[in-house]
Structures are given as structure tokens and as C-alpha cells.
Amino acid sequence: MRFLGAVVLLCVACSARAELTIEITGAGEHQIPLSLVHFAGEEKMVGQPISNVVTNDLLRTGLFKMIDPAGKSPHEPGDVRYDEWPGVDALVIGNVRTLDGGRVEVRFRLMDMVRRTELVGLAVTAKSEQLRAIGHRVADLIFEKLTGSPGVFSTRIAYVNRESKKYRLVVADSDGYGEQTLLALNEPILSPSWSPDGSQIAYVSFERGHASVFAQSLATRQRTLLADFPGSNSAPTWSPDGKQLAMVLTRDGSSQLYLVRSDGSDLRRITFSETIDTEPSFLPDGKSLLFTSDRGGSAQVYRVPVEGGTAERLTFEGANNFSPRPSPDGKYFVYSHFVDGVFYIAVQDFENKQMQVLTGGGWEKKPSFAPNGKLVLFATESQGRGILATVSSDGRVKQKMVAQRGDIREPIWGPFLKQ
């Protein structure tokens, strides 16, 4: 099932600042033929040309077939001669210019080449170092206009980078650029989780000699110790309204689910099993939690009302199933499916209980949906190193992102940010 030529190697690594090399396999069933003319004036800017940022974003989705402009270079709608673009459904044109005071102006237009009209246009001025961010916004607009779903190119991801004994909690753009280290320790960091507004990340750190739960502001870097009971404190996850977190404590014996307000107060226990209950994750309506439990004799995915009560087992196939997270629309959940010694990323429909394995298998762990539900981010391994990967939610398009150093673990896709 390889349409475009098996492997498209993107030139993300061309820039000296690239953190990740991206490799894509597969393609969507119905690709939109799209052409993009390099923006006028972009060659004068520092860093990667903005039209490359846009092209790479769109290619990663597998939903677009990029058609070479073949020397044609319109930059304004008046320059476009529609008859010259047979087979092209949409055309992206634009220009970039430097303003006074280190600012740049980007103007772009998306042309509907079939109906011969302009679909959308945007003019933005920003600091020159924000050129990549503008590129992601342009790609988001194109994606939304042509597919009907919002783009996720402006969103961010978080993960843990491990280099021998050094652990870093990292936040990066969805394409792996713009890495920011939120925390660096010589002890393990686990289970980062975004607050719904994207302003904070909760995580597990071993800096106090055992697993304890912290939340940290991205803007101020200020940290709050949320749980530090004897034993293990772990698996934090925010409620959709951001007012409370679910987490796992062993203070009463085995690992059990608890709720706590986001300031760490008002601790309430939700599950009462003598077995392992862990990895809670709120459904989008905030009324119930998915979690992993071995109460039935093997690790499987369950759902329990947020106020506690009877838990319902959801997974039955495979030896073990771990790390459930729901889709943004609440219709599906992804999880790590362990069978015959191999981890796969799988998705299951809540309503008809049908499961689908999305990946080819390996050390594939910790899946999470992009906020538009179209992609799943997960951790896997390539040539003995932990890397990031994504798969489209229909399993057709796969992408690996190889870091320049260290092992990448525990990824999670962040929310849409309010503009």
C-alpha cells in the first residue's frame, strides 16, 4: 500500500537547529493534489524557508500530493493563470518581507484551482524568530480549509529525553523543532500530562528518592509538589475542566486511583481493589476515567465513573493492554496492545467495541491522540534507540521522528492553544 514512493525523507535535518529527522511511510486513500510556490522574499530570511515549513507539515499528514510548480512562480492572485495548473486542486502562494524593528510580514493565499477563487488568505506581522510559528499557522489554515478538520501543526508535544543517567522533560513544536527543556534531572522522569489549557505539565519525578507528582508552569517554570506520600505517587492526568487531577498513589497499599484538586488539596480515593489500578485518563465529558488494571488476572483497560463505583472491562484481546487514552471526540481510545511479546498501538471503538491494530509492532508504548483526532503520537524504538512516531488514526500513514541524541520516551500530544 505505498502510493507516493515508499519513503519520503524530508529535509528537516537541513537546518542546523533540527532536533529530529522525520521519515514518512504510506499515504492517505484520497490525496488532495496541492501545489505550493516558494514565497517571494523568503530566501532573504534567516533559517528554514517558511514555505518548507508549510510543505513539511502538510506532507506529514499523508493527505496531500504535492505537485511541483515546474518553474511557475505567481505570488499574487492576479499572477495566477488557472489554465497552467491542470490536475492541481489547490495552490498556495505568498510573500515575506522584512519590516522595521526586526519584524517580518507574511502574506499568503490558498487558491481553489477548480472553482478559480481564493479560499482563504492571511497577513501576519511578527518577530522574525516567529517565522516557523507563522508557517505552522499557515499550514493549519490550509489543512482546515481543505479537509474540514482543524490542523495541529501549531500545537506542542511533550516527552522525556534520556541520555544515560540524564533525564530531560522536553516541550517541542509538533514537528520536533523548538525543543525547550522544562526540567533536567539525574533521576527518572515519567508520565508528562498537559493541563487542558496547555499552560502546565504534570509529571512524575524520582528526585525525592521515590516517585512523586509535580505540576510545572511552562511560562514561569514554577513547580508545585502535588503528591509525595510514602511509596509511589504517579500517573497524573488533568480533568477536562482543569480543576482537578486523577493520579495513582500507593499510600493505602497497592496502586489505586485518586482525585485531587489542582492545588493538591481535597484528596479522594476512587478505586478500591487489592490489585494494580493505574494510568487514569479522563473521558472528554469528564464523567468517567479509563485506566489500566490487573484485577482480572492480566493488565487490561477498564472504565470507572469519576465518582467511583463499578469498573467495566473494555479490552479482551491480547495478553495485556496498557496506557489507554481517549480520542478528543470521546468515540475511541488508543492503547498499547501486548501480544506474543510485541507491543502494538491499537484503537478501539467505545460503541461497537471493535479494535483495530494501527501499527506493525515493536516496543510501541504510550499513545496519545493529536487534538484533532487525526494522528496518534507514541514512543517506539529504532536501531536500539527510543524515538517518537505517529500514525494516522486510520493506520494508513506512519511517521518516525529520530532525535539527534538520547532516547525519547513517554510522549504526549498537547492541546489546541487559544490564539
Partner: protein
């Protein structure tokens, strides 16, 4: 303080590496042939039925002088109950703690990488907790024992192989 603990752990790890090979081999068949199904069947009270101490001579001798040399307990895959083969090790430490009221230990639970990081953290904690319970049944006081889990985060051995995994499914009794 942390440095001291770390170096103690290191010494223990080295000692265990050198002495523990036969025991791992003994655990291996169980690990590969007994998957998760029986794992939760061992309730928290299981260690109560353990037989009286069998390794009389060694345990008694150790209790007088130093803590028992063997500090690692090995577990089958996805199992948290202390295996019969390793109970004597735990009991010897329990008796040592009973006779040395000022001694304190930390039980560190670990798991192999087959599972999610959070599930393995929980599994390592259950292993440490079960070792603690058996220590108490052997005469130690709860206040002498701290438990911690490192899950799959601090593997003794990093390869994707049963030879490694069997070493990583482990609880260590570390002097504090």
C-alpha cells in the same frame, strides 16, 4: 547522604551480579511459561502461610554479625508474590532486623520493561510491599522498613532478552 546510599546499592548490585546467576536460571522457566493469569491470585496475606525458616544455620549465623549478604529477590514475569525459592533470603533479613532494632532497610522494587512504565512502577511497588510484609512476618518492625519502586526505570541490564529481564524483575533489600 544520597551518595552513600548509591554506593551501597552499587556494591550490592555487584555482589548480586556475581552470586545470583543460578537463581535466575531457576526462575526462567516459570517466567516464560506462566503469564499473567495467576498473578493476582496471590493476595496480600499469602506470605503468612510460609513455612518456618529452613536455612537455619546461615540465617542464625548472619543475624549475630552482619546483615545477610544476599539482598536480591527475583520474581517471575508479572508476579509480585515472593517466590518460595527466595523466601529464605527475605526471612534471614527479617530475623536480622528483629535482632538489630536500630537497623533500617529500604526495599526497592523493580520490573522488567514488558509493560507500561506506570504499570511497572505499580508492579515494582507491590513486589517491594510483599517483601516488606514477609520481613515483618519474620520479626522486623514496620518502622524499620521503607519501600520504594523504580519500576522499569533502573534496569540492572538493558537488553531486550529474558536473560536481562530475569535480573530486572527484582526487589533489593538495601541497608539505610
Amino acid at each position: 547522604m544520597k551518595k552513600i546510599i548509591l554506593s551501597i546499592i552499587l556494591v550490592n548490585l555487584l555482589a548480586a551480579c556475581a552470586s545470583e546467576k543460578p537463581k535466575e536460571a531457576a526462575n526462567e522457566p516459570a517466567a516464560t511459561s506462566a503469564p499473567a493469569a495467576t498473578e493476582t491470585a496471590a493476595p496480600v496475606t499469602a506470605p503468612a502461610q510460609t513455612a518456618p525458616v529452613s536455612s537455619e544455620a546461615t540465617a542464625a549465623a548472619n543475624a549475630e554479625a552482619a546483615a545477610p549478604a544476599e539482598r536480591s529477590i527475583y520474581f517471575p514475569f508479572d508476579v509480585d508474590a515472593v517466590p518460595a525459592s527466595d523466601r529464605a533470603t527475605v526471612q534471614a533479613h527479617g530475623e536480622y532486623l528483629a535482632k538489630n532494632k536500630n537497623a533500617k532497610v529500604r526495599v526497592e522494587g523493580n520490573a522488567d520493561e514488558r509493560g507500561s512504565s506506570e504499570y511497572n512502577l505499580a508492579l515494582g511497588q507491590r513486589r517491594a510491599n510483599n517483601v516488606k510484609k514477609l520481613l515483618i512476618l519474620s520479626g522486623a518492625k514496620s518502622s524499620q522498613i521503607e519501600t520504594v519502586s523504580f519500576g522499569e526505570e533502573k534496569p540492572r541490564c538493558a537488553d531486550h532478552s529474558e536473560a536481562c529481564w530475569s535480573q530486572n524483575r527484582r526487589a533489593d533489600i538495601v541497608a539505610k
